[in-house]
């Protein structure tokens, strides 16, 4: 069973955070904010599409809003499969981190 990639994980988590406002731009912003790196729009379009194809995300078109010049936006939502997948990934993470004590992570000078 495959686990999610870091990008996919980040996007799914961002979508969960943003709830009803989860469309392309805020997602990009959120991720950039947290990771501290500038993620361009282009870099998240492709994983968004991929996740939707894998049925971890679903999307619908919102009502038109004035701030987008009367245009629609595509709002994403994480599916149950998506949530399961996130949990699996988290477990895997935890297992990997288990038994690694704080002192071991200290960077030693050589």
């Amino acid at each position: 069973m495959k686990i999610l990639t870091r990008v996919e994980e980040f996007i799914l988590l961002a979508v969960m955070h943003l709830k009803d406002d989860a469309y392309s731009l805020p997602i990009q912003k959120k991720i950039s904010e947290i990771s501290g790196e500038n993620w361009s729009l282009g870099t998240i379009y492709a994983p968004l599409e991929r996740l939707e194809k894998k049925k971890y995300l679903e999307s619908y078109l919102s009502e038109t809003t004035p701030e987008r010049g009367g245009r629609q936006k595509r709002i994403y939502r994480v599916t149950r499969d998506g949530i399961k997948k996130l949990k699996k990934t988290q477990e895997a993470h935890n297992q990997m981190w288990e038994d690694i004590s704080e002192p071991e992570l200290k960077v030693k000078r050589t």
């Binding site: 469309y23 392309s24 731009l25 729009l41 282009g42 701030e67 987008r68 010049g69 245009r71 629609q72 936006k73 595509r74």
Partner: protein, 881 residues
Amino acid sequence: MKSKKKISPPKAANWILSGFFSISERELIISDLEEQFIELAGNLGKNKAALWYWDQVFKAVKGRLFNKFLWSFEMIRNYMKIAVRNILKNKAYSLINISGLALGLASCVLVMLYIDYEKSTDEFHKNFDTIFRIDRKELSKNGWKPWVDVSGQTGEWMAQDYPEIRAFTRVKSLPFYNFKVSFRNNYIKESLIEAVDPSYFDIFTFPMIRGSKETALAEPNSVLMTEDFAQRLFNKEEPMGKIITISSEQEDRVIEYDLKVTGILENIPENSHSSVTLVVPLEFAERVYFENGVENDFYGSNGFVTYVLLNEHRSGVQLENKMDDFVSRRFGEDKVGIKVFTLKHLGKIYSFGTTEYKMTMFSIIALIILMVACINYMNLSTARSFSRAREIGIRKVVGAGKLQLIVQFIGEAIVFAFIGLAAAYILAQVLLPVFNVILQKNISITFENTSGILLQTIIMAMAAGIISGIYPAVFLSNFKPVKALKGNLKIERKRFSFRNILVVFQYSVSIFFIISSLVMNKQFNFFTTKELGFNTDNILVVKLDSAKPLDFMENLKSGLVSDREIESVSYATSIPYESFRRLPKDPRLNVKNFLARAYGVPIIYCDSDYLRILGIDIENGSDFSPGEPSNNYGSLVINNAALYLLGENDPIIPGRQINLKIEENRFRDFIVQGITGDIYFTVRYFDVEPVLFSIASPGQKINYNYILVKTRTGITDEAAAMVNRTISEISPEAVFECSFFDEEVNATYKRDSRWKQIFGIISGIALFITSLGMIGMSTYSCEQRISEVGIRKVLGGTVPGIIGLLSRQFLLLVATANVIAIPLSIFYMRNYLNSFAYQTNIGIETIATGIFISIILTLFTIFIQITRAAFSDPVKTLRYE
């Protein structure tokens, strides 16, 4: 948002974006970008935000383009790579294909150059679109005869009757065939002087260097000449207003006219259908005709080439429909259906020796040759398809569709065709001089005319590529990938496969051309060597520049005869194939020959040695008596064709006295002394023309132009030099030309030999391409059957047996081709021969030679491959199975 003014991203950028994305995609992307843009604009300012926006759009579009085109481009690059690799991998096959296509395309390029040259003949005239020539057809016993001239009134009447005609002009040549144009001591020999209406220069816009079109033909003795001609006649002197003299020597007098130069024309482009050098007004021609009694009714007789200028191009067709009406009104009801006028547009009038028929023939032949080359490609690529089977299998497995494969293989054929086209241009450049000599044209490959035909040739190469590629493409793309990859793809041999049909077609074409050119050759030889009726060997012809009287000739003759190398000498007013003095038309004479009826019966005044030197046998009666000329005065020798001159039921016998009209209103009695066999003194398109030979008394004041010198041994350049020397010693002032008689006679038939040469070359090319294909096919076939040969040898097959077995299939194809081509060529050659009055038969030997050449050549081309296969070591060949 933050700013009160509404900020929006650059419209142009959005417009570009919308061009690359579908509506649903576009909405989202633009809205995302816009939102970000507005935010950025708030932070960084509008300009920077716009810059950013453009950058985003650019990136998006770039990605799109990459996906859309780069992959298809990659694919094409891959096809090209495979094509080039294939060309390089199978060098022999590629060479066969490319050289075949190059030859085929080179033929097309040459024909296109030729047609382009002919089509552009008279385009320089401003009125090109609306100039038409009035042509005439008359029904006679032998069917319709076309003429390019009409009577003098026709143009005038037509212009009166039809308002569509804005102007007309008539062109008539003066009745001199060889004349001198002289200015002071300088003179030029010319053969054509044309008389025209003043409107000539309104209709045809020949640029004039000196003089104006309004005044140039105003006076009856004006003359215009081309720049070149003026240069030759006047050197650097001013030509305008100078008086020049035109003089024509008849046998017993000299006609002379003075003309005043009133204009100089720019040189006429050489592919113009009009070949004017000297132009005079029609009034002058009328005077010349009248004063020399050539025709009584000047404007009533034919001989006027008439052009009309119409108001618009399409009036030409409309006017033609009214011509029956015109004939009945102007020529009488009884002429309707016998006399037909047609209008020919200037663009359809080609330079000398070219007809629409000939151009169509050339085009068809070039296309057939190209087709033969395309067939080579088809056959070789399908025959070799097994070597591509793996590639096709892999492509199909990886996901190539059938259509993609078809495109790939057609593309490959087009690559071949274009390499062929490049080679064809080089070949055409090399072959052009030969082509020009055969056609008697001066076509060159220049930037202008090649750019004119470049597009056509590219289309032609494309078409050739598609035609030759489509069959292999469909054939190859049909392979089943599983079988193809397993490598046990065997192409079954069918007796009547499409490939065999194509080979039969190629051979049929070649055999057809071979037999045709053999028949043409035979007819030509029949024409030139066999039935002349006189001998041309060891005879030198001396043409005097001006005709000389009897005593001068006698003096020259005795001087020449004293030379030991010279057997005999004769002088005469004419020799075969030169122009003749002709008796005026005489209603009492029964003349059937076309030429003699049109121009009068030819009469040659000569001395008593003339017939003997030419080796003309007297069949009935006797030759002129040698020695004292006075014994022969008033006696006549006639040829066989003149036998019924006095009437159908009244053959002339030796000793008979006949009365002939020797000039207008002058008659003389002659006694027929001898009758010769059939001798052709004039061109042999028609039946034998009657010719009369007579020895003139000094009182007749006949002047002579020609001397025939028969040498003892073969004539050489030294003999000619000696004759030259002797004549110069005897009469230093004489101007003359000396030539070999047989060469002179052969030159007369040069034009007829052109078709023969062209067909010879064509059959050579067709045969060459076909043989190339055959080499390829036999190579392939032997490769395919090598293990069969091995097994046969192991089981006791002999080498000759195997050679026979392998060649059988090819010989069968050639035999089939013969069966198809022979009836076809017999049919067409019958038609060809029927165009000659004196024709040879096709002959069994011609057809046998055709069969022989095709079979021997086939055996020769397949021989190497087949013997190699037959002698192959079964141990080696069978090991692979």
